[in-house]
């Protein structure tokens, strides 16, 4: 367990230099229109976890809430960092778990 944690937060490791790839232009998060190249660059800019990339690029923050791109973004981050995707924690789950219209969200009824 300790080994795993150190792997996740270890920011001292040297990433290989960023080299652009031919499919960098490909969109991975379609809700927020983020490309593979942007995710790769974000890792090189220091965003090492799914959560950090999410806050930096908004991947997984759109309509599908990462249901489509979560695994794909994870794979890209893991590859850039040279670790297994399963060593990266999933993004934090927060309410509202699904897209809700503001009018509905504002219409809160305490007594169900």
């Amino acid at each position: 367990m300790t080994e795993k944690i150190s792997k996740i937060i270890d920011r001292s490791i040297d990433l290989k230099p960023f080299v652009s790839e031919k499919d960098d232009e490909m969109i991975v998060c379609r809700c927020e229109e983020v490309t593979k190249g942007q995710v790769r660059e974000a890792v090189h800019a220091g965003m090492y976890t799914l959560q950090e990339v999410r806050k930096y690029l908004r991947t997984g923050m759109g309509l599908c809430q990462g249901q489509t791109c979560g695994k794909l973004v994870k794979k890209i981050i893991a590859k850039e960092r040279g670790i297994a995707p399963m060593d990266l924690a999933s993004a934090v789950g927060r309410a509202p778990m699904r897209p809700v219209e503001m009018a509905v969200l504002a219409n809160e009824k305490k007594e169900g």
């Binding site: 499919d23 809430q65 249901q67 399963m86 509905v104 809160e108 169900g112």
Partner: protein
């Protein structure tokens, strides 16, 4: 705040089963589902289920769904639709949006049965309209009666890819190919065989390079991959398609559990992020349970059992039943679950190359790469024997948990035994009366009735047929072999449609004796006449 003894999130097979067991034991139960229709995936599953009687084998998914819904209603379960759970908190507070307002509920136990969502893959052009999930195709066809497209390429040869390919064919779409990056077909051989015999080619070790088209998909380029999953240059193939279906696995929709503070693990064998739970589905938060795909990807039959177990466990947690009752009742369910988790496709064996069946028969390699068995391979198996007169030919060659054929025969011609993954054996010392019940009972559509002695020079073959328009007696068409190649003229001698066959029609065709052991599908020629 309105309180329930049990709140179930998700009205699919697991959720409804859980709600029923809870309500049966006296709990007040509410089920919330974000969809407009209940049943989860069940109402899209128009095929007959595998398993044994206790698993509702040979019953179609939507009938199982209707049955569950009826039980839930009878027991007074409050099933709320268009009710999206947008938050779940450690103190068992459930926040629901019903499209008008946000409502808070409280429960003493919670069962999360949210199921799974489809994985996708990235390739050039994957965001073009026309690239859809196999589940989406199923929803369009089976719930809304809409054809997803005219010409379809299926990516993924697991059971979902195979079953949906067959349903696309039933809906009248053309499936240009089923492809998979893996070197072997991932799903049941019988599912592959029923697709292959209609003439759909398989391309294993292939993946999509690019979807082409300007405003929507008009074509797809695939290519062969090497051992490192890299495209081998020069192997590119192009198809004109308007739809690309993606069936590359599922991910548990477990975010609510993470939010509720349950301990989570990353488990690739379960499809992604899942909560840790005990044998009853209880997570690290006492009183919060999981059941079905959200706790690890399997299928609807096991989801129903897991649902039942968690429902019973919730009743025990609240003191509605004694702990001893839980143990006893859960044991029965666990045995039933164990039975489903046996055989070649058991959870631990996924993706492994298996050479022989449990009985020692060699596995057909053409079945794994082309989707059908050669005539030479078919005769290896104990369900295929050459006898005089009408008799079943059971082309079942993999150990899968399924046994309805055994019970369907009134003459006890078919034997599987206690172990439901065993291959069916045709007992040549019994007398087949040609009733066809075995054909209709076979969820894999791999049983045929063959009679080589009825008429000189001809063989009569009865096949399961689930396509419209239904041919009628006297129709002349073409016999296709297991790989879908035309092998000679065929004449329809009879089409039987009995209620007991549950919408599987039994089509008897007459072909020349020489091709009798090869002919396994009937192709109508009517369309050709119409065009003329």
């Amino acid at each position: 705040m309105k309180r329930y003894d049990l709140i179930v999130v998700g009205a699919g097979p697991a959720g409804l089963s859980a709600a029923i067991e809870g309500a049966r034991r006296g709990l007040t139960v509410a089920v919330f589902d974000e969809n407009a229709k209940p049943g989860g995936q069940l109402f899209k599953q128009i095929h007959k289920f595998f398993g044994s009687k206790e698993h509702k084998a040979k019953i179609r998914g939507y009938d199982i769904g209707a049955e569950l819904l009826e039980s839930a209603n009878e027991l007074g379960v409050d099933v709320q639709l268009n009710a999206t759970v947008i938050g779940l908190y450690p103190l068992k507070e459930v926040v629901v949006s019903d499209e008008k307002e946000v409502i808070h509920y409280k429960a003493d136990t919670i069962i999360v049965a949210t199921g799974a969502s489809e994985n996708t893959v990235n390739f050039k052009g994957w965001t073009l309209p026309g690239v859809i999930g196999a589940g989406a195709a199923q929803t369009m066809m089976n719930l809304h009666g809409i054809k997803p497209g005219k010409r379809v390429l299926m990516l993924g040869s697991g059971n979902v890819g195979l079953v949906v390919s067959y349903q696309l064919l039933q809906a009248g779409c053309e499936v240009v190919s089923v492809i998979d990056a893996a070197p072997r077909i991932g799903g049941y051989g019988v599912h592959a065989a029923k697709v292959a015999r209609t003439g759909v080619p398989f391309h294993l070790s292939h993946t999509i390079i690019e979807a082409t088209g300007h405003d929507y998909v008009t074509g797809v380029t695939i290519g062969e991959v090497d051992k490192n999953w890299q495209i081998i240059e020069g192997t590119e193939k192009q198809f004109d398609v308007d739809t690309i279906c993606i069936a590359v696995g599922l991910s548990p929709m477990s975010q609510l559990l993470k939010m509720a503070g349950c301990e989570m693990v990353e488990d690739p064998s379960k499809g992604g992020t899942v909560p840790t739970c005990d044998a009853y589905g209880e997570t690290s938060v006492p009183g919060i349970y999981v059941a079905g795909d959200v706790s690890g990807i399997e299928e609807a039959s096991s989801a129903m059992i897991e649902g039942r177990i968690s429902g019973i466990a919730a009743a025990a947690y609240l003191g509605y039943i004694e702990p001893s009752e839980l143990e006893e009742e859960a044991r029965v369910q666990e045995l039933s679950l164990e039975a489903l988790r046996q055989g070649m496709f058991a959870p631990g064996k996924r993706g492994k190359a298996i050479k022989n069946t449990d009985e020692g028969y060699e596995i057909s390699q053409t079945l794994l790469t082309k989707g059908y068995m050669s005539e030479k391979e078919v005769v290896r198996y104990p369900g295929v024997k050459k006898v005089k007169g009408i008799h079943p030919v059971i082309e079942c060659s993999q150990n899968i948990p399924c046994n309805p054929c055994q019970d369907s025969c009134p003459k006890n011609c078919i034997r599987i035994g206690e172990n439901i993954t065993a291959l069916p054996v045709f007992d040549e010392n019994t007398t087949c009366i040609g009733c066809g019940m075995c054909i209709a009972s076979c969820s894999g559509q791999s049983i045929f009735l063959v009679d080589e002695d009825k008429e000189d020079g001809y063989t009569y073959i009865t096949i399961p047929y689930e396509f419209f328009p239904l041919p009628v007696k006297g129709d002349k068409g073409v016999a296709l072999d297991r790989g879908g190649s035309e092998i000679g003229p065929a004449e329809v001698m009879e089409v039987k449609s009995l209620k007991a066959f549950d919408k599987t029609h039994l089509l008897t065709m007459r072909v020349q004796s020489a091709v009798g052991m090869g002919a396994r599908f009937y192709k109508q020629m009517k369309e050709v006449y119409v065009n003329d």
